[in-house]
């Protein structure tokens, strides 16, 4: 084992959660943008979108708690304090969106009095009163934040490509799915 000061990677559990969420969230964004433009596949896609959103909500809460309990690897020495601040702010933004988007989805279905069906008879209770005005506001917010999440993903993806291919400071190894040993 590395000594704490030499830890270069997120813990195995945090890396598993990261890549699991990456797959879930990219699937979710693809389903979300496709279903609102679809007639024939709308119902099938919505039936996946709802439980997958709730699954993301559960995983992001677990991940946040585990993150609080874990020692995080340091940023590479090559990153300036401004870069570190931006990286940190983007992490806060991503966590916030991943938490808030499913909650808004749940809330907007509640405000429209749709049943929040997960699978078969399994469903969630409404968390907001019946109000179509509230539904309309949350429905718009859901779209705006989903596009913001997609842009945040693009920025996150672009930043890691830049660090890996141009700066080459080993930033990716912190979250690499495989084990990268320290010096």
């Amino acid at each position: 084992m590395d000594k704490a000061g030499e830890q270069r990677q997120f813990t195995v559990l945090m890396r598993i959660l990261h890549w699991l969420m990456a797959a879930m969230v990219l699937t979710m964004l693809a389903i979300g943008v496709a279903m609102v433009a679809s007639l024939g596949d709308y119902h099938r896609l919505v039936s996946i979108h709802r439980p997958l959103g709730i699954a993301i909500l559960i995983v992001v809460v677990i991940r946040f708690v585990i993150r609080q309990l874990s020692t995080l690897p340091p940023f590479p020495a090559s990153m300036s304090s401004r870069e570190r601040f931006i990286a940190h702010a983007s992490e806060v933004l991503l966590y916030t969106l991943l938490f808030v988007l499913p909650l808004i989805g749940w809330g907007m279905l509640s405000a429209a009095r749709f049943p929040i069906v997960l699978y078969g008879p399994l469903h969630l209770p409404p968390i907001l009163p019946h109000s179509v005005m509230l539904y309309a506001f949350l429905r718009r917010t859901h779209t705006v934040l989903a596009y913001l999440l997609f842009l945040a993903f693009i920025a996150h993806f672009g930043a890691i490509l830049f660090h890996t291919l141009v700066v080459r400071d080993g930033l990716f190894s912190r979250m690499a799915p495989w084990r990268v040993d320290a010096r």
């Binding site: 693809a30 496709a34 679809s38 007639l39 429209a112 008879p121």
Partner: protein, 368 residues
């Protein structure tokens, strides 16, 4: 420590030449553009002519106009409520809780087809009844039924093309007969369905109208067996044929006034009849009736004992999405079903955020 995997974590690799840096930056740009492109492609940004829920609702809006706060189709209506009393006979067909013997509350809405919420009542317009069954434990069953025996269109595209073809010509104020004829010539199923619809004379009012699910659905029983079904609400009120003699009523809402007066006098009732299809019966074609002689099961009685204006009825703020189904019911392979769900949702989302304007059937109208 192994040293062969540490190159990637060296803090200071040899600097890249300017040329190689630019090539790598360009490569990153291409990868990101591809990711954005896939996202936009999935969202239909590169297929501007594909039929989407938004474009479908636009066609309704072009046909009838936009009336703030109203449904884009079946705009004129009145709210009702009551209960469904299941006799338990449906429990062998579907495990849905609604078919266990007992009573569940229902809210609903009578309506006329079309996007004009102030249209004058006319017996030949399509009559709708949307229902929401509140099941125990928070499950719901929603169904949007009409009085037609079959639906005139096989696919969402057919429905859309007909909406476009029957658009009034701005010069004449009437649909272009050539476009209508061209649509009919290329859609024999629609012609067949319309002649069947026209052979069924409408009844005198909402209270003695039979309403049909139109689309086929599937029921799943406790053992997991799935069967094709359609359902109908058959009125307990005696069916009175429409009288076409005498002076036509002058009140624009005379049919709504009649059903209001009727419910204020005594509750109205319908039998919920499930028609069980055979494996060979088409479930993907709402223009086709199933052959006579299919098993029909009376599973219970719908009672509507309360009627109120949309201004106060919770039904105004309900989307009677036909795919809000309890466990034990499922969509069939009818392509209209998913499209109805998508288009109703689009219409609901648009009207939900608009200012609500008074319904043609006002609270005073219901109270008088």
């Amino acid at each position: 420590m192994p040293s062969d995997s540490t190159a990637s974590v060296q803090p200071q690799p040899a600097p890249l030449s300017r040329g190689r840096t630019l090539v790598r930056l360009g490569g990153i740009g291409v990868v990101l553009l591809c990711a954005v492109g896939v996202f936009l492609y999935l969202g239909g940004w590169f297929s501007p002519n594909a039929l989407t829920p938004g474009r479908f609702v636009n066609a309704f809006e072009r046909a009838d106009g936009v009336f703030s706060g109203f449904r884009r189709n079946h705009a004129k209506g009145v709210g009702v409520s009551g209960y469904f009393e299941s006799n338990g006979q449906g429990a062998r067909l579907s495990k849905a809780v609604v078919f266990r013997a007992g009573r569940v509350p229902v809210i609903g809405r009578f309506s006329f087809g079309g996007g004009d919420p102030h249209v004058a009542d006319a017996p030949n317009m399509v009559r709708g009844l949307g229902l929401l069954f509140w099941l125990p434990d928070g499950e719901q069953w929603r169904t949007a039924m009409v009085n037609l025996p079959v639906f005139p269109f096989q696919t969402p595209q057919d429905f859309y093309d007909n909406l476009v073809a029957s658009q009034p010509d701005p010069k004449t104020g009437k649909p272009d007969p050539e476009k209508m004829a061209a649509f009919a010539a290329s859609h024999p199923a629609t012609v067949r369905a319309i002649s069947m619809i026209q052979s069924h004379a409408p009844s005198s009012g909402f209270d003695n109208t039979a309403f049909n699910s139109l689309n086929a659905f599937r029921f799943i029983d406790a053992a997991g067996m799935s069967i094709p079904v359609r359902w109908s609400l058959v009125p307990v009120e005696p069916v009175v044929a429409l009288t076409t003699t005498g002076t036509p009523p002058t009140d624009k809402s005379y049919m709504f006034d009649a059903v209001i007066a009727s419910i204020l006098q005594h509750p109205l009732q319908w039998h919920l009849i499930i028609t069980v299809g055979r494996p060979e019966d088409p479930t993907n074609d709402a223009t086709m009736a199933w052959p006579d002689g299919r098993e029909q099961v009376d599973v219970g009685t719908l009672t509507l004992d309360h009627i109120e204006s949309e201004e106060t009825s919770p039904a105004r703020d309900i989307n009677f999405d036909p795919l809000v189904l309890p466990s034990g019911m499922a969509p069939s392979d009818d392509p209209l079903l998913s499209a109805r769900s998508a288009i109703y949702s689009q219409s609901f989302t648009r009207r939900a955020g608009e200012a609500k304007t008074p319904s043609a059937i006002s609270g005073a109208e219901v109270g008088k």
